[in-house]
Amino acid sequence: MSLTSILKEKKSDILRIWFDAVLLSYPQDTANFLIKEKDRFANPVGFTYQHNMEIIFDSLVGTTDRDTVLPAIDNIVKIRNVQNFAPSQAVAIFFLLKQVIRQYTNEHIANGYRDDELLALDAKIDNLALAAFDCYSSLRELMGDIRIREAQRRIQKLMDRTNIFNDISDQEGDATNERT
């Protein structure tokens, strides 16, 4: 059996293990809730994870295009970016996928798949992780921009009136919508 068909067939199992592994990246107090909760997706955080992890997983077996998978990565990294994670921890969950798949196939699939398939999969996952890294840094930049714009907005009219920083405030309207 090819690795791709294994992944397709065992998608829900692997996704579940991946999700559990992601939850373990939370401090224990928090992870306990998310894991033990019967309907663990029934909160905005769990929901965002579940929904987008599936899209990302689909991209590994070639059924998702890049334009769909990038927003999915972005949605997840967005959450991890504002929670208590170091940058490495914020994006580490994509690398976890390598181990999750290896472990699962080792334990459950009797006849092996070809090594080159595995290498190709690794490369795909590496790409996901790199994209996540991009997301993370652009979100950090966004947070910086948000801080600046917020500080500006607070005294926006004062600045307009006294005509200081006029050049910056002129761009303010556009800058708000620059990121999509």
Partner: protein, 332 residues
Amino acid sequence: MGIIISLVAVIALTLVAWIGAGTLGLHYLFGVIIPYLALAAFVFGLIYRVVKWAKAPVPFKITTTCGQQKSLPWIRHNKLESPFTGWQVFGRMLLEILFFRSLFRNTKMALKKGPRLVYGSEKYLWLAGLAFHYSFLVIVLRHLRFFIEPIPGFVMAIQNLDGFFQVGLPIIYITDGVILAALVFLFFRRVINPKVRYISLAADYFPLFLIGAIALTGILMRYFEAFKAELIAVKELAIGLVGFSPVVPEGLDVIFFIHLFLVSVLLMYFPMSKLVHMGGVFLSPTRNLANNNRNRRHVNPWNPDVKVHTYEEYEDEFRELMKAADMPLEKE
């Protein structure tokens, strides 16, 4: 941890009564002295708590509004969720106390097809809470038949209603089943729901086990031949206690003393534990005050004198600037 401590505590209490009243035969202690002490602790403890609450003033009217305020005549005012008059507050409190209104509002997040996340209604806690409290009330009222002779009509009525289905011999009371079911639900909810488990203390499990043990001993005495209590003797004891001429009649089994001892413990424990929420709910300032703050002034008995910044001080500081800006001044 809390579970084990509480369970051990209830078992230990049971053993105390077993050994004390059974093995050692201290019937007068367990049948008269302890119940009297417990009752005294309950009454005085509760009064102490309520007086302490009532003595603390209510400096501000901090109603939590859960509906439209009374403002313009053509906007429909939500009288029960945002009461304006005393009677409307009474209505809100009635809903709160008799029907657990706020708990009824409980929501739970759930995933719907789409997929999308919705905040749906979650009524189990409300239902179990209501079932538990009403069963408890009915059971307490039913017990009045032991204490009053002749048995008052309303007690008979409640008893008949409770045995409405006329099943079993002796007739099975609905509330006996309901209270056990509710206790089991409340216990498992505490254990299984990770959030509730995390916040639970020994003081949360202990009353569940204690009341469970009381209910179980009661049920054993009523429905199981081996444990059947001698009703005449029980009534003699009860009437004696009420009339302050206590006698301990012959023929009372150890199981009865266990039951009575656990009830005594509950009475003593009540005022110093979270169980006083019964009294507290009446006094909760976010619920028992009207949302008519702008209509009727609320007086704070300790309204402090504070240092304010007066207009004169303000003008003194900024007079020149205000003058330059052509702003009206009190003093030129």
